[in-house]
Amino acid sequence: MSTPIKIGARHQYALVVDTTRCIGCEACSVACRVENTVPDGHWRSRIVPPTTGGAKVPMKWSCMHCADAPCVRVCPTKATYRRPDGIVVIDDDKCVGCKYCIVACPYGARYFDEKRGVPDKCDLCVDRLEAGLEPACVQTCVGRALALADLADPQDKDAARIRSGEARPLHPELGTKPSVYYVVGK
């Protein structure tokens, strides 16, 4: 039998997106869509392509798992909460479908799942993590641009990229302390 990976305060998960290795192929988008049976017309994760005057590289875009998450703050029923290991999740049973969180998210990471009657977003494939597997996007990445980092592990090479400042959050000025970090080339 597989041993579930330890989740809890001893671990602190983050996603590292190395844009120097991302080829913008959207393998991650579809892997996520299928793995999480995301309904037609919605995505938990997409690639924002580079555009003239905009981003110079493709950017994987999904929930930033903020440490100070506006979605958590506005949720009237505490259905959205941040786990001790850093993953921001939604408790369907507590959610009343008010959609405050969708409006509050500055990264536009949430959509409303009509069938479930709750907002939905990336949960870092928490079911896969508990089965000892990497998130679907990380597992399928063609350019090997994605990595799950554990900031609580001093030996973790990907966490080291965050600590050194090589991998940086998007829009830190929003003050939400995101847990998705981007490596951008020179």
Partner: protein, 739 residues
């Protein structure tokens, strides 16, 4: 991240899950064939090793099945060149499988051709319908009046066996609309088209429009990304900014169709500055002096006047390329149905590799090490000798005086309309299109439609009602790659390798695998003796018999390499080691006596592409990473990612034409018109417009994509390279107006 011991163990077990028979992985267990998985308790998940077919690369996959349904497809982590990655298309296999638009029962046409009106039929009725007509056609016009076309695939052998047993030489595939110019150039130069690039180990790559990150082959893209991350330089030439421009260390934007000038100037610099591998050239090449004499005039300054790229840049690239040899590669390319000068461009590119002396060394180019090189090969099922064929091929492939250099295993799919409509050299009367859609793949669509209408019999064997299917008399629903086991696939590279595509779930509706379709059709035509196998398991067993391997052993990890066979570079330890090449000289033919004899340039020389007449744009096309040619635009999830193509046009000309981003535009050429949306962008050169291939679909059976976007085949004429037989698809000029 570094994983805790328990986590590492778990990941490794997961990674090799399919290999560790019956070792439970959480709720997952290894599944054998689907018969076994069907008997599993509800809620149990099994993993079937298989091979993707969302494109032609055939990456190894693990198919997760729960309660008889595919729940997920992942890359097989046992494959080092992909490390478990698969692309968006591979991830979307389940969306193809479940697409309500799939044809799930045989259909016989009741309406006019093209209307897409069919009635459901039993397989027996469909076979009888086809067989009756094929017999009549054979009796009236001879067996050669049957043509068959297909996308190369693992199941090819059944259609090919059927065609050969029937007695026709007219067997086509899609290659002349894709890599044929490259393949013929490789045959002429290296004596084989089985020449590959060792991407992950190279230090310098020059790509002449080979758009690796969109025309995506996962092992190649991953190899390049790793090489660049290690410090390799990657120079990419493309008139359009693509994701490959972003991935490259240098992107150069040449005028379209002038890549040959750039390559010739690189040759000139390498030779005049003695940057080439002189020992290699002496030992392994033929005709260096003639090449050197031919390129003297092609200075970087001259090439700059053609390409628009500064001479100093061209000189720098040539010097850096020479400096990085032998781990320097000029990419042979993939889609090469571009310009009339493309064949000589490929010849020049191959010459660059020869001058780099990169053959059979790490980070260079290598000859594919097939099973045959290890003294064995796949077997086949027993069948009688095929009837002798006396008729010449309609397309002239392999025929002296016509297209002697075109391999008869490929042929030229564009020959169909000429044969049917003019009767020259004789008319095809029946056509079977297998996973191949001439209306979506071949230019001059209006003429192709006329030809299809004139056929006595048109059969489409496909997952969808393709555009060609809408004109067919009968559509036979083939099941998807997730619903069938196929013959063993050879996937050799630096070492021999075979893979097995295994059935993961039961076929939906009444869809059948091709091993069964052609066996049963042959029986209906009276050719059953050629298909004397019981089922696919018997075919696979016959293939594996010479290897002393069973299907179960192969299925365990999904792929197999002969014991002891390691990745091999023939010149790694001995730069003078013999390398056998099947050319006339036994060497790399920089000068080709064969080409000279046929009246073609024996060494690459420059010919300029035609220039757009005033008021028109050159129209170029390409592929996007989430679709495969014209095969996947209707697959629901992939359709959502990119539902439509757009016309890329530079802001300069767009402004003059009053076209703003997102406006409707009409694109006109040769009296035809296509409509779509404009994407106004500086990512394309001023005189050129671009759009992705695969849209402008006409089949009523493709409910999502039909009528969307710009169909290029409606606008392009059929132009064929007289040397390689390749189509020429970037020499069409279009008018663009706001609509």
């Amino acid at each position: 991240m570094t994983v805790t011991p328990s986590r590492r163990t778990v990941l490794q077990v997961a990674a090799t899950g399919a290999a560790v028979a019956a070792l439970p992985i959480g709720a997952r267990e290894l599944a054998g064939p689907p018969a076994a998985s069907a008997a599993q308790p509800a809620g149990t998940e099994s993993v079937v090793t298989s091979v993707c077919e969302m494109c032609t690369v055939r990456c190894p996959i693990l198919v997760r099945v729960r309660d008889g349904k595919v729940v997920r497809i992942e890359g097989n982590p046992k494959e080092k060149s992909t490390q478990g990655a698969i692309c968006a298309r591979g991830n979307a296999g389940i969306s193809l499988l479940e697409d309500p638009d799939r044809v799930r029962t045989p259909l016989i046409r009741v309406g006019k051709r093209g209307e897409g009106t069919f009635r459901k039929a039993s397989w027996e009725e469909a076979y009888r319908y086809i067989a009756d007509r094929l017999k009549l056609i054979r009796a009236s016009y001879g067996p050669e009046s049957l043509g068959v076309g297909r996308r190369p695939s693992a199941g090819d052998t059944f259609l090919l066996t059927f065609a050969k047993a029937f007695g026709t030489p007219n067997i086509f595939n899609h290659e002349s609309s894709c890599p044929l110019a490259r393949n013929v150039a490789m045959h002429v130069t290296f004596g084989t088209a089985a020449l590959a690039v060792d991407y992950s180990k190279l230090d310098y790559l020059v790509s002449f429009g080979r758009n690796h990150m969109e025309t995506l082959a996962v092992p190649q893209a991953q190899g390049i990304v790793s090489a660049v991350a290690r410090g390799a330089r990657f120079v990419y030439l493309d008139p359009r900014r693509t994701p490959t421009s972003t991935a490259a260390t240098t992107w150069l934007q040449p005028r379209p169709g002038t890549d040959l000038a750039f390559a010739l100037a690189m040759l000139q610099v390498m030779i005049s500055e003695r940057l080439y591998d002189q020992d290699f050239v002496k030992r392994y090449t033929h005709g260096f002096d003639q090449l050197a004499a031919a390129v003297v005039e092609y200075t970087p300054e001259w090439a700059s006047s053609k390409t628009g790229i500064p001479a100093a840049t061209i000189r720098d690239v040539a010097r850096d390329f020479g400096g990085a040899r032998p781990r320097a590669v000029a990419d042979p390319g993939w889609f090469t149905a571009t310009y009339l000068n493309d064949f000589q461009l490929r010849r020049a590119i191959l010459a660059l590799n020869a001058l780099a002396g990169n053959l059979e060394v790490p980070g260079g180019v290598f000859l594919v090490k097939s099973l045959l090189k290890y003294g064995t090969e796949l077997g086949t099922w027993k069948k009688p000798a095929f009837p002798a064929v006396t008729a010449e091929r309609v397309d002239g492939a392999g025929v002296p005086g016509r297209f002697p250099l075109v391999p008869v295993t490929d042929g030229m799919c564009q020959a169909l309309p000429e044969s049917v409509l003019t009767g020259k050299p004789y008319p095809l009367k029946a056509y079977i299109a297998h996973r191949f859609d001439p209306l979506a793949a071949v230019p001059d669509q209006p003429r192709m439609i006329e030809a299809l209408k004139k056929l006595d019999l048109l059969v489409s064997v496909d997952v969808y009602m393709s555009d060609t299917g809408a004109y067919a008399d009968v559509i036979l629903p083939e099941c998807t790659y997730l619903e069938r086991t196929d013959p063993v696939i050879e996937a050799s590279g630096l070492a021999p390798k075979i893979r097995l595509r295994q059935q993961a779930v039961s076929p939906q509706g009444d869809a059948r695998p091709s091993w069964r379709i052609y066996k049963e059709l042959a029986e209906a035509v009276g050719l059953g003796a050629y298909f004397a196998y019981r089922d696919i398991d018997e075919v696979v067993a016959a293939q594996l018999a010479p290897l002393k391997l069973t299907a179960a052993e192969l299925a365990r990890s999904g792929q197999w390499t002969p014991p002891g066979a390691k990745p091999t570079y023939l010149r790694k330890s001995d730069p003078g080691a013999p390398v056998k090449l099947k050319t006339a000289s036994g060497k790399i033919e920089l000068f080709s006596a064969e080409l000279a004899k046929l009246g073609f340039e024996p060494v690459p020389r420059y010919t300029a592409p035609p220039e757009p007449p005033r008021g028109t744009f050159r129209m170029i096309q390409g592929k996007c990473a989430v679709h495969t040619n014209s095969a996947t635009q209707n697959v629901p999830v992939l359709h959502e990612l990119r539902p439509e193509n757009e016309l890329w046009i530079h802001p300069g000309p767009a402004g003059r034409l009053g076209i703003q981003d997102g406006d409707g535009v009409a694109v006109r050429a040769g009296g035809a018109e296509q409509r779509g949306l404009a994407k106004v962008t500086e990512d394309i050169l001023e005189g050129t417009v671009f759009t992705y291939h695969g849209w402008g679909r006409i089949s009523p059976g493709l409910t999502r994509v039909r009528g969307k976007g710009i169909g290029l085949n409606a606008l392009m004429p059929i132009t064929t390279c007289p040397i390689s037989g390749s189509l020429v698809m970037r020499e069409t000029f279009v008018e663009v107006v706001k609509s």
